[in-house]
Symmetry: D3
Subunit: 227 residues, 6 copies
Amino acid sequence: MYELGVVYRNIQRADRETADGLAKLGASTVHEAMGRVGLLKPYMRPIYAGAQVSGTAVTVLLQPGDNWMLHVVAEQIQPGDIVVAACTADNTDGFFGDLLATSFQARGARALVIDAGVRDVRTLTEMGFPVWSRAISSKGTVKATLGSVNIPVVCAGALVHPGDVIVADDDGVVCVPAALAKKTLDAATAREANEGEKRAKLASGVLGLDMYKMREPLAKAGLRYID
Amino acid sequence: MYELGVVYRNIQRADRETADGLAKLGASTVHEAMGRVGLLKPYMRPIYAGAQVSGTAVTVLLQPGDNWMLHVVAEQIQPGDIVVAACTADNTDGFFGDLLATSFQARGARALVIDAGVRDVRTLTEMGFPVWSRAISSKGTVKATLGSVNIPVVCAGALVHPGDVIVADDDGVVCVPAALAKKTLDAATAREANEGEKRAKLASGVLGLDMYKMREPLAKAGLRYID
Amino acid sequence: MYELGVVYRNIQRADRETADGLAKLGASTVHEAMGRVGLLKPYMRPIYAGAQVSGTAVTVLLQPGDNWMLHVVAEQIQPGDIVVAACTADNTDGFFGDLLATSFQARGARALVIDAGVRDVRTLTEMGFPVWSRAISSKGTVKATLGSVNIPVVCAGALVHPGDVIVADDDGVVCVPAALAKKTLDAATAREANEGEKRAKLASGVLGLDMYKMREPLAKAGLRYID
Amino acid sequence: MYELGVVYRNIQRADRETADGLAKLGASTVHEAMGRVGLLKPYMRPIYAGAQVSGTAVTVLLQPGDNWMLHVVAEQIQPGDIVVAACTADNTDGFFGDLLATSFQARGARALVIDAGVRDVRTLTEMGFPVWSRAISSKGTVKATLGSVNIPVVCAGALVHPGDVIVADDDGVVCVPAALAKKTLDAATAREANEGEKRAKLASGVLGLDMYKMREPLAKAGLRYID
Amino acid sequence: MYELGVVYRNIQRADRETADGLAKLGASTVHEAMGRVGLLKPYMRPIYAGAQVSGTAVTVLLQPGDNWMLHVVAEQIQPGDIVVAACTADNTDGFFGDLLATSFQARGARALVIDAGVRDVRTLTEMGFPVWSRAISSKGTVKATLGSVNIPVVCAGALVHPGDVIVADDDGVVCVPAALAKKTLDAATAREANEGEKRAKLASGVLGLDMYKMREPLAKAGLRYID
Amino acid sequence: MYELGVVYRNIQRADRETADGLAKLGASTVHEAMGRVGLLKPYMRPIYAGAQVSGTAVTVLLQPGDNWMLHVVAEQIQPGDIVVAACTADNTDGFFGDLLATSFQARGARALVIDAGVRDVRTLTEMGFPVWSRAISSKGTVKATLGSVNIPVVCAGALVHPGDVIVADDDGVVCVPAALAKKTLDAATAREANEGEKRAKLASGVLGLDMYKMREPLAKAGLRYID
């Protein structure tokens, strides 16, 4: 259950170098390397195309229609963090705009991942502050009810602990638990390593059927070719 | 992150009497008593009206279109349990039908809460085995890929640990952490205690405006009456 | 634009007899008689099957997650009214339960139509207090922000003025402007009048093709029969 | 592509006895027996619980908001048929009500499956005329544009040819191609045959793990038990 | 209720200078300045990013799948207008394409806001004619049934009167009643005035917590910091 | 019903020149020329704006969460083909990424149309390999279950036979049956022919009301102008 009205100031962030290293691998490769768990639901979409980031999660639990805790979480941001915002109910209001983005950016945040709405998306795009959200909406919010900061949250169906690594790009958002970050980085890097070779083969016309030796298992599974 | 391919056999269930006592209070009152957290998303609907249950959670993580782990979890059921099934991706297939229900019922399960689809709903209704699900579908599933049993899962947006108390009725499904079950039972019972009196007053025509002394705060907030 | 923080106490209700007379005709016939306008979106569903009502609208504009104004509107209810609740944002919280229903019923309300969620649906069903809503949810609400009572509202896509007639049954909810209520009642009654005769003909095997003389216009439109 | 403005009068219906025999097996068992194909999307829901039917399909392609062709199809109904209605665009209007149902029933139709909306659901329920639809709506339709009757249609994602067998119950709707009806009946009957024995075993406490000999494949797949 | 088959030729447009002045403030600031009412639902999305407009509303009520009235409304357009199109039922057809856009643009329209679908979006983008819609679809429409022009309409959940001011950008679409346009412009301008200063402070690292003096109310609300 | 586990190697492709000629006309014009049938549902969206293609369909039926058959279909691709992928159940997983795209492109495929999810969208965009899909998702798939290649499939609600012509652009995706391709090309070209003239007239301020001679039919339908 969620603990309301608390801010945890000391969190154990994943190793910085590891967290930073995951960005270039991208959400899809990292998700594969994790064994296909940790993905936020695909309704989480970037407000502009092309951003690809990783960072350590500071988490915030919001109340619907109330962005008070986004101001509270701002103070907890350290350079290299990504703010992960969950909400106690489905909500598409615009919790976050250019002023908060200015503040987050000044604190060193790399991105916001929010299971709710955002606004001022043109300015955010100009600022180069990437956001993954479930909606875009002009509707503002009040500042009246407490949530919490740096507690474990469920964001878009995924459990995120403060300090976990977040990897996000045009494909979506993945959460890598801090304890698994190094292992995941290694596995993802290994996956990536022979992609170039594979790509070259496929580009030359070699079929995946042959490259991956699928013909036999397909035949075994009963695949029939009809002329 | 989810650990795949494991079955935890020894879980710490919430106190039986407490878990049982929450049923009669219902999901809405329990949710209030918890401070309005712990609710599964409202797309979770009962397959038939009128069931009202509580029990201790045994959890299972399923792979989409694959119900293998429901057979594995069956063995871990103890009388008074409610099976809580999450899935690694959104899926509406019919993972559960009358045969599994017969087995679950024989093991003492009181209900199934599943963030996916079920089938044989007419027979389940006749059997009196209540299910809360996101969908009803004839589409069956395979038995090919491992998930896990009795790990913490995110089910319909709520984090559920094995041993937590589940309360479900026509209004929805709530998860009460085992550690908070007693406190929640007390708070919910207290809420319920003076409901009868309130209901009598309201039935006699007394207004909530007066009973709850709202006129002054409403006026303070600026409410104006216009004739 | 919505005016916030006001309660209009004196509204012009549609003629009582007319308002009452529309119930037995049902939402579909009334909607036809109106020229197919005035229907609330079909996501508005009854919490139990079989209720069929009409009444004069008292309207309330709610803020998301806040049911304060439902207590305010209760005082404005007169016997024969139906409360129509709109919300300034999409919201599925449970704004309304058995206590408010007791109060509404005591004031003479016949039903609630709410573009949001409700709870305690089992008790509401036992009480025989019908509700049409967009959702059912245990999630309670706060009492913190003003909306308005008896202003024109947009509820589930339909514009409803206080005093309009609401007709609701298993097929959905229709709003009949007060000024058109009598005319609509007459038109709907006329439609209904020869339904019995039509039904008898169709039951005897006469085809709509012949009864409605459709063969010629169909041929003219180019319909071809192929043996 | 759809051919518009045509009515095929002579269709090859699946064998009557076979078509009738599939009803008692139900949609889920039949869907399994078919190899898990042929299912209409699970948003197709019965307007009342408990109906379980099978019959031969007469198909109709409708234009959005226009039920003219439902009158045309009525004439093509033979006893034992189920009308399957597709629409050229997503539409939730109420295309079908009690008058058409009276006519369909008089012609011997057993049910309607419509990828659109219906109305008069209370009367349809009283008449015992089952309908599976994507929506319920009071909104009526015009009679202005041609569709077709007894052409192959895509209904709720499934391809249905005139004469195919439709099986529908609380779990959903399945289409069995006429040519496969006998084979499917046999396979479904065989599946059903040993369900009773299985159910008895499971009811006595035998686990699916043992009954289906799953322990070894689970171990092979790497399942670990942790005490 | 909607009046069908009428075109109001003389509407009272909001003051031109005021209407024009709202564009640069944007939908989110204007929505705030209005007290958070008047917003169209956030499913209304621009067909291309970056457009930011305001103008006076000419309204049109469409029938589903029928764009006849868009030709009728074209004649009522005056330079500086934005066409606001509602539909009597949910519909995603492509009502509007490059030919109509050419006509609208020639008449001086600045944009289209339509609670339905549009097509030819690549050409519209090249023409620089912005559209906010609920869908993009190739599906064309007929010209067969009357709606109305310049009556009050409900568009994407918001009530729009002819002559109101529409403000639209990447964040969404807001309707400002003509009578409130000047007051809203002033309020929005005032809001905007000190945004630059705030932004500078936040960019320098000052926290919203301090700038907005939130620490005390947060503490009062019970916020606890845990090290 | 779908035949599973088969690959048809010899399909009759629509005439190449005809298939190629449809691209420049675009999905909306082609859809009109077909009589408004053959459109895939509008949830099918391009992963990047601006692509406009046509080609001959090679079809593939996928199992949910399983992209094995995409490797099988790759071998069947000939230059000028577009792969059309349907799935036996609603699924948003990322079935297709940059490696498969490399292979498809090497085989001469012009695009992928898939009623499921894709990933690596940034790389696909850089490669200029257009995809129309229902979702974008990092979630990978397994290679375990057979579907089929080059059987008729229902993709996003439209029936597609192998060899049909697919036309896709920013407006959506249309399927033109091979037998109708020439006739459709002619009809679409004819439609397009006088568009330039119409556009010029409309740009000069001529109203559609006059150009299409709508004033009389509108008056006949009862349209009233009110000053």
